[in-house]
Amino acid sequence: DAGVTQSPTHLIKTRGQQVTLRCSPKSGHDTVSWYQQALGQGPQFIFQYYEEEERQRGNFPDRFSGHQFPNYSSELNVNALLLGDSALYLCASSPSGGGSYEQYFGPGTRLTVT
């Protein structure tokens, strides 16, 4: 059983460009959450997708958008990249509903904006 996968592993972009990151959830999981982890910090919640809709959102600007596909995979899009967007982007999947379900994390995409 494959866990959470993310692509690409690393990415270098120029300020002002746009980027798309991809995530495939663990088998059986229907909820995907995205987190941004700046260097030396803990992950910060960006948004969460469930049933192909954004359900919850953290304190991130509209430049950050996403999508979830019928197979539960998800994309994170960032427009008009800023130097401060350089970070590790983590995708986590989980089953929907309540309970102390573990969020399974992918290995992340390291984005560098120059």
């Binding site: 030396g40 992950p43 910060q44 969460q48 997708y49 469930y50 986590a92 994390f105």
Partner: protein, 118 residues
């Protein structure tokens, strides 16, 4: 909004010894979950242990145990018989138990870097 504080940016422990990592949190909710995640240099976040707030008994997973003090809003992680493979960043995380469609997000602390000395 909930916050999680890890006051120890770095800790070190001798191999085979015991170390305790601290975590405090702030919330007005009565029902929630607490987690400790490990992030080795490979970057993959791995769940170490979880605690449901409604359970008084402290969670234990092999060499890892927690000291959950609900009134004090404290959730420390004890690692016994430390091994070289325990070296990593450790993050304390909070998750509300309020039901949303989907799943409530994790709120993380800033982490504690644990070094294990051979």
């Amino acid at each position: 909004a909930q916050t999680v504080t890890q006051s120890q940016p770095e800790m070190s422990v001798q191999e085979a010894e015991t170390v305790t990592l601290s975590c405090t949190y702030d919330t007005s909710e009565s029902d929630y979950y607490l987690f400790w995640y490990k992030q080795p240099p490979s970057r993959q976040m791995i769940l170490v242990i979880r605690q449901e707030a409604y359970k008084q008994q402290n969670a234990t997973e092999n060499r890892f145990s927690v000291n959950f003090q609900k009134a004090a809003k404290s959730f420390s992680l004890k690692i016994s018989d430390s091994q070289l493979g325990d070296a990593a960043m450790y993050f304390c995380a909070y998750r509300s138990a309020i039901r949303h469609s989907g799943n409530t997000p994790l709120v993380f602390g800033k982490g504690t870097r644990l070094s294990v000395i051979a």
